[in-house]
Symmetry: C2
Subunit: 135 residues, 2 copies
């Protein structure tokens, strides 16, 4: 009996290990920082809270990643007048450039994996992972 969380974890690790080197070497980013950058690049402007909810990352991780990205001028914060506790996070030009650069690399890794699977396997896999992630 090989448990699903075990298999998921092994597959997740294996599939991301090479990519890690990319954001680390090219931009000196941590995984948390790449994930925040990705969320903003992919889903558009968001508050830290929203990123927490979507990514399931802890708020302290997000807070630190946001600070790091801000320091490197990859994003800006804009206090909301409606609720002055939260701030909208927005990628700068260079943040967007980094996102595009990295996501195109990610995509090619992704395609390398997808190429090993059948059409049906690809489709089922993505559906099921989404389902599990939302459980």
């Amino acid at each position: 009996m090989l448990f699903l969380p075990y298999l998921l974890n092994q597959a997740a690790e294996e599939s991301s290990i090479n990519f890690k080197q990319q954001y680390k070497d090219r931009y000196g980013m941590l995984r948390t920082e790449w994930r925040v950058l990705f969320h903003l690049g992919y889903f558009g402007d968001k508050t830290a809270r929203e990123i927490c909810d979507m990514s399931k990352m802890h708020k302290t991780k997000v807070s630190r990643a946001v600070s790091a990205l801000e320091t490197r001028r990859f994003l800006t914060r804009e206090r909301q007048e409606a609720d002055r506790r939260s701030e909208i996070l927005r990628l700068t030009k260079s943040g967007q450039a980094a996102y595009k650069d990295l996501s195109s690399i990610a995509e090619s890794y992704d395609q390398k994996i997808s190429a090993e699977l059948t059409e049906q396997e690809n489709q089922v896999l993505r559906e099921v992972l989404l389902k599990i992630a939302k459980l």
Copy 2:
């Protein structure tokens, strides 16, 4: 475009978050320790090196997890005469008991996830994850 490593990671995180509480509360174990215990329980006696290769964990993580498990008398080490650098790790009775206890809990979590998927989805998912993990 939602990348596979991203989806895998979200699903892995979501599926293991509840179980973490179990090995932590019941045995005061870390994730690394549970993983080593699991490997020995499931695959039988192994050296630290073999566990590193199979689990893709870093050797310092494994080394420290093994020490912790040894201290708690969950495993013993046996120097190999053939190659006196490495030692075979073997679960003790209480190590085996902990493995059985935890893996039965893991199994029930697992079944809860599986119940949300169709027969076909379950089968494809496991096959594909194995394929990706070994790529």
